[in-house]
């Protein structure tokens, strides 16, 4: 029954999601915008700023960490080593996609139902709170993960069109694949779960978005930590990070169920 109910929620939510032009555009276009924008930055940095960056001690430290992890990069000229360093950040940049889609979609998921009055009718059905919240989370997380994977393909296509195809072997490391296939779904679920928590606690979608925004900062921090050479995410570190986030997902679901107050929703929202 639980699976049937979650499938039921997914079917309905997707029906609503893809009949709303704003949400459909957010899911389909935003990932390409994120990838395109960062590739543009890296291209500009590579083309016009590599000398300055190479002179910086921060990037020197990061390059040392890169070469320890990917020794094959040592054979490349310094400017291309810098490019490999930048392109390797994509494993975390791609994480921004599910987070941003989460903020845009999950934040509205409960608030909208509160405002239209459908939530009270829903709360009078036998659906359990965790089934509802998990269904709502997966509604956004599944397309967000799929779009992240498509974006990864788009990224590889663009770098080969830019003539950097020879570097792709140095970017597609085991850590990259772990990040894509384990960390991305875990982060997607977390960001959507926080969006749903925000949505069930907030009085409007703005408040919900603010709560969901919490996830953006750790991801920006991950990029910052790696690009400045503080910590380089090896395969093991990426695996540990993914497992930690999966554990946080489980805690977040429990917290979401606890924080979802059927009573206050029924009383405060009419």
């Amino acid at each position: 029954m639980t699976l049937r109910r979650i499938r039921n929620i997914l079917r309905k939510e997707w029906g609503l999601l893809f009949t709303d032009p704003n949400s459909a555009l957010l899911v389909t276009l935003l990932p390409f915008a994120v990838v395109g924008q960062f590739i543009l930055y890296f291209w500009l940095a590579f083309r016009f700023g590599s000398e300055g960056m190479l002179g910086s001690s921060i990037f020197q430290t990061a390059l040392e960490k890169l070469l320890q992890t990917i020794p094959e990069a040592a054979a490349l000229p310094a400017s291309e080593q810098l490019l490999v360093l930048l392109l390797n950040q994509f494993q975390f940049i791609l994480l921004l996609i599910p987070v941003m889609i989460g903020i845009g979609i999950a934040a509205f998921s409960i608030v909208d139902e509160k405002l239209t009055g459908s939530l009270e009718a829903l709360l009078a059905t036998p659906v359990r709170t965790w089934e509802l919240l998990l269904g709502k989370t997966l509604t956004g997380a599944i397309p967000a993960v799929l779009m992240t994977w498509i974006s990864a393909g788009f990224f590889l296509l663009v770098i080969s069109l830019l003539g950097w195809g020879n570097l792709s072997g140095l970017v597609l490391t085991p850590s990259w694949f772990l990040s894509l296939f384990l960390l991305t779904p875990a982060v997607a679920i977390l960001s959507f779960m926080l969006g749903v928590i925000g949505s069930s606690r907030a009085k409007d979608s703005k408040g919900a978005q603010n709560i969901a925004l919490i996830v953006v900062f750790p991801i920006l921090a991950l990029i910052g930590i790696q690009v400045t050479g503080i910590i380089w995410f090896t395969t093991l570190r990426t695996l540990v990070l993914a497992l930690v986030i999966i554990a946080v997902d489980i805690i977040a679901l429990r917290a979401a169920v606890h924080l979802f107050r059927r009573e206050s929703i029924a009383i405060q929202w009419r």
């Binding site: 499938r7 609503l16 009055g117 009270e120 029924a266």
Partner: protein
């Protein structure tokens, strides 16, 4: 057999008592009208009985399920129509129903959805978005949603509020049909005529239960039955004759009409008419004064205000 039983059911929101010590029983198959002014605790009571909010005192059993313990099972056997239809405007009527049906143990959802869309007269518009429907159609669709899993108890919170007379009449006909099919209906409404038309019994609430009885019994409780005798021409002597009759409790003259309170309206009425005729009165019509449920309700509310004022002084 009672299908809803409450005992001392109460709900407090911080310092405000919304429902106080509600003890009542609703029989299976009954339509109970739940009346009261705004803020009287009608919606809070419905939400408690529907397991959406928990009581802060007392207990209640609905269709064999404790409202505070067995919520999932309770939700399988109740249907609820909230004040707003709460439909998904971008989904079709059919998808709206299919979605809600998906939460209940229904074997053939499509057949069930078809049955209720047809019952509500919405089958022809099944693939249209619910957002394009009129208020009446939305209300019928919401009613279909509440009924689709064939609940034992149906909670209706002001189902005809904001509807035009035609749409309201359609909803009332549907409620009647539900009753004929054996469904117990708990109907919260401000429309007293509607309550009188549909309900077997009426409960009046003002935080606490003020009255619970049939409309007729409530009328008898608050108003004595008066016989109205319409005379061809007013005659002051006849009033004196009527007042002198042993079974007359009170008599008044209002133009050419006599308003008479009898000890036993049924038995004393022929004797009253004979006495008037013997005194030379020419009787045109004899009828009984009709009191509306509204008059009963207003009397109840008035008494409650007086008793409140006395309690506070």
């Amino acid at each position: 057999m009672a299908i809803i039983e409450t005992s001392g059911l109460s709900r407090r929101f911080k310092d405000v008592i919304a429902v106080d010590d509600l003890t009542m029983a609703v029989e299976s198959g009954e339509v109970l009208g739940f009346l009261g002014p705004n803020g009287a605790g009608k919606t809070t009571t419905i939400r408690m009985l529907a397991g959406i909010i928990r009581p802060t005192g007392g207990e209640a059993v609905v269709a064999g399920h404790r409202i505070d313990r067995d919520v999932e099972k309770l939700h399988e056997v109740i249907g609820m129509l909230t004040e707003t239809p709460g439909l998904y405007g971008r989904l079709s009527a059919r998808r709206n129903l299919e979605y809600f049906a998906g939460f209940y143990p229904i074997d053939d959802v499509s057949t069930r959805v078809e049955k209720y869309l047809k019952l509500m007269g919405l089958w022809e518009r099944r693939d249209d978005r619910a957002g394009t429907f009129s208020k009446g159609m939305k209300q019928r669709l919401a009613l279909a949603r509440a009924l689709m899993h064939e609940p034992k108890v149906l909670f209706l919170d002001e189902p005809t509020s904001g509807l035009d007379p035609e749409a309201a009449s359609e909803v009332r006909q549907l409620i009647r049909r539900m009753q004929e099919e054996g469904c117990t209906v708990f109907l919260s409404t401000h429309n007293l005529a509607e309550a009188e038309m549909l309900c077997n019994r009426i409960a009046v609430i003002q935080t606490r239960l003020l009255a619970l009885d049939t409309a007729e019994s409530l009328r008898r409780r608050f108003f004595r039955r008066k016989v109205i005798v319409e005379l061809q021409s007013p005659d002051p002597n006849i009033l004196a004759v009527v007042k002198g009759l042993p079974f007359v409790q009170e008599a008044r003259k209002e133009g050419s009409r006599l308003s008479v309170e009898l000890m036993d309206s049924e038995r004393n009425r022929p004797e009253l008419v004979r006495a008037i005729v013997e005194a030379g009165g020419k009787v045109v019509t004899v009828s009984e004064e009709q009191y509306t449920l509204e008059q009963v309700y207003l009397r109840l509310m008035n008494e409650e205000k007086i008793s409140d004022a006395q309690a506070h002084s």
